[in-house]
Symmetry: C2
């Protein structure tokens, strides 16, 4: 369908060339995701100024509400000292620790078991659900130094490598919820890892999209994207020689930022020590720019990396997506999967860049 529309509109290119520039400033845009073919709307008619987004409900509000009884501040409080999987830097002077979630969405078991009912199919939620907790209750990732952020990525990689070959694990999701509106139920900064038996439907869209782009263009779609962004400099938030942070052309939310390695690689878990430091620099700067620009908003970030189901995904390209909770997805978004954003990614990137 997307392709058809593309051709339909392309054939009208000449006649519209004149009015294009004028219209571009007054009318909403339907932007197509280069990878999945999905659509987003940049609704200029409902546009907000970048400054207005800073009046969102603050993540800070939840930061201070439970320091007295915080389960994440001291390992003893969770009653899970013996279950800790990783301590960095050391057990005594820990700066980060990893342990299993006490209330897991996925729990240990050898293989997923079939649970059929009539025409439906289900299986047991077999897998792993772990928490990656940094020490300081108040210092969230945007405020940490590069070494601290690199340590977090280090822990992600350690646990990824430890779990990726387990029998029930075909996909590993690593994500972070910051602030109540982003679904964080505990204020103390923590990331989560879920190792699960099924491939995420959204990753599947990106896998299929990048494979089909490769077949047509003999190029990785993410490489095309990061090279174009570095060159065009319209949506760059920050970059160094190995990583680039930019607001995607078809952003699903205002101030969305993607952090992408410039070198092609499908697999986050193969990142080197040197790359990790470079990633930490770009990632922390991107997060800090959002923190400053939107006055500590709620946000989620997550790593999109290839599945670990034993297959190769040479056309995929891992990256991190940071999604500030700047919008409430309503009926239209939930029905259609087309998100409406009220700021142009170019304007958002420009505003973010100024904060660094």
């Amino acid at each position: 369908m997307e392709v058809e529309i593309k051709n339909k509109t392309k054939s009208r290119k000449e006649e519209t060339e004149k009015t294009k520039k004028k219209e571009k400033n007054n009318i909403s845009e339907l932007r197509q995701d280069l990878v999945t073919g999905d659509w987003v709307v940049i609704a200029v008619g409902r546009a907000k100024r970048p400054e207005e987004f800073a009046q969102l409900e603050r993540a800070e509000a939840t930061d201070k509400d439970d320091i007295e009884n915080c389960f994440f501040c001291e390992p003893e409080k969770t009653g899970q000292e013996k279950d800790v999987l990783i301590y960095k830097t050391s057990q005594k002077d820990w700066t980060l620790r990893v342990f299993p979630n006490k209330y897991p969405a996925f729990s240990r078991g050898k293989v997923p078991q079939s649970l059929e009912e009539g025409p439906y199919f289900a299986m047991t939620g077999t897998g792993y659900h772990e928490l990656i907790v940094t020490r300081d209750h108040y210092k969230h990732l945007a405020l940490m130094d590069v070494v601290g952020v690199a340590e977090v990525f280090d822990a992600f990689q350690d646990r990824y490598l430890a779990l990726m070959n387990r029998k029930s694990v075909n996909f590993i999701s690593i994500f972070h919820n910051h602030g109540k509106e982003a679904g964080a139920s505990i204020a103390h900064p923590h990331s989560q890892l879920m190792a699960i038996p099924v491939i995420s439907p959204y990753i599947k869209l990106e896998l299929d999209g990048s494979e089909s782009y490769y077949r047509s263009n003999k190029q990785c779609v993410f490489c095309v994207m990061s090279e174009y962004e570095s060159e065009a400099k319209k949506r760059i938030v920050y970059e160094n020689d190995q990583f680039v942070a930019f607001c995607p052309f078809s952003s699903r939310a205002a101030f969305e930022v993607w952090v992408m390695p410039k070198k092609h690689s499908p697999y986050f878990e193969r990142i080197t020590q040197d790359e990790k430091m470079k990633l930490a620099e770009v990632f922390q700067k991107a997060l800090y720019s959002i923190y400053k620009a939107l006055n500590n908003p709620s946000y989620n970030f997550y790593i999109h990396t290839a599945p670990c189901d034993g297959k190769d995904y040479p056309h995929f390209h891992w990256h991190i997506e940071i999604l500030p909770r700047t919008a409430t997805w309503a009926g239209f978004e939930l029905e259609t999967g087309i998100e409406i954003s009220v700021i142009q990614p170019e304007v958002a990137a420009d505003f973010l860049k100024k904060q660094i």
Copy 2:
């Protein structure tokens, strides 16, 4: 991928038969969407009792905040009297009116115009964005009588038929946001219609899923679903001879309800007068059960119907999805597209049924 996993687990069926029943009560379930192949998690380990959901932020809170200056109470206040497209029952004693959104996400224009940039593709957001407003500021759909609800569906159908053949329109989205958490910025009850040039990605998933199910099983997947639900009676909320309301097996949120015609039809706009009354009865009862059970929660509902792009979709089956905002989708859901629900749909349906 989904099919592969299905086979993998199916072959282990015999050995697991014994432990199945016991495990089913203690461990999360990964349920597969019969249509799209997507997954949801029913996280029993994090389960809440149905009564706990009634403590969500109330939609009521916003109901009373702007009656004095409500733009939707009287046509004069919008300054759009001359733009009104439909008055029901009459202009003077109107019970419902339809008019263009003053701040449209999609705006009128003959054909979408191409807006390319480097490797990216976009087009102008050409289309129609209309509001369907019922008269009483306080009486939302769950509290209306069947005749009032049927009138709303009547207006949906009228506008659908008026717009479906316009040049720039390939898909029509009809939806309703109730309460602040569901994205309603105006408290006065109103539905929205957006007629747009592109096919919604979520509808595309359902179109593809239902087509592929038809090819394998020579049956409509939605017919299979509604017949099974009516027979099994495990997830029924309410039904009459023509429509059924049930909590879907792979619910994406607690207390999600689908309302589906029992007779196969891809196209909502072909509904008859008699069917409309039957639909209104089942739909109003379903909505009322959610209103009572969760103490007037925020919710969205929307119609999933076949595109109007001139093609036939004989394997599709229109239906309405009601999604109470019982959960905050966090990093995991946003990353993977796998939703975590904390109540079994069977328990939710049972609780809803008792409210009617």
